[in-house]
Symmetry: C2
Subunit: 133 residues, 2 copies
Amino acid sequence: MKRNTWQREAVRGALDGNDGFVSAQGLHSALHAAGSPIGLATVYRALADLAVTGEADSLQSPEGESLYRACSTDEHHHHLICRNCGLTVEIEADAVETWAKDVAAQNGFTGAAHVVDVFGLCAECTAKFAASA
Amino acid sequence: MKRNTWQREAVRGALDGNDGFVSAQGLHSALHAAGSPIGLATVYRALADLAVTGEADSLQSPEGESLYRACSTDEHHHHLICRNCGLTVEIEADAVETWAKDVAAQNGFTGAAHVVDVFGLCAECTAKFAASA
DNA sequence: ATGGTTTTGACAATCATTATCAACAGGGCT
DNA sequence: AGCCCTGTTGATAATGATTGTCAAAACCAT
């Protein structure tokens, strides 16, 4: 049976209150900073659960950390992520969906899953960099 | 200055002789098994170098390991990877390239880089699974 | 062969993540 | 309400990949 604990709520809430992706470690620190005595292992477990139930989305940063984000929809979608400030835009990619499926099929692959994420500099950060350069 | 050492050649050779992606750890084990006394740190360094010079391609497995592969071309391309046997097919994806660029531009992002890889079961493994199911 | 510099490699350090396991708490049941 | 069973927690240890360290060895031009 699945029980309702304040810890799980805390993690869910922390995710909701965040615009971009957060690492498990970061989320734990944030919760601690906010005074919550939640344990690190619990944060990992809660995040894994949320990811499984589809309430959260997970991806890997180029540095190898696992990042999580509250998902507004439970549909399949991808992300456009600012590599500087972490701003995230959800993007739809029907074209890519079908492309991935086609390519897989053409090569005899089944059960195709794909990793499609775009990293870049958002407008704001681009301006910031241009100014400082 | 860049020096030519047998260790670097060994890593390059081991990569060339491999069809799919290999982890740094795996490559090191393989070299050791083949009798090479090469050090683990050296393998990591060599792989990083090859990745930078474009002679090798790197991506992250869903488990978070860094995987490397000798690249037949120095052009930008993506991969279709069997999640069971590691078979890798290089795929071209002009459509995706432009899509990624467009999406980024539409949202004011610059310097867009993208991670596009497709994981699935190759025909062989699909058959194997079907038989055992 | 020599010298200056890069590279190597054994090992320690780091970092994220997972496992352990005893103490604890949720919630259905009486 | 009180109890008990079972899922959950959390401090800490364990794991596993990767990176840093630094003296010794190798490379290459001279």
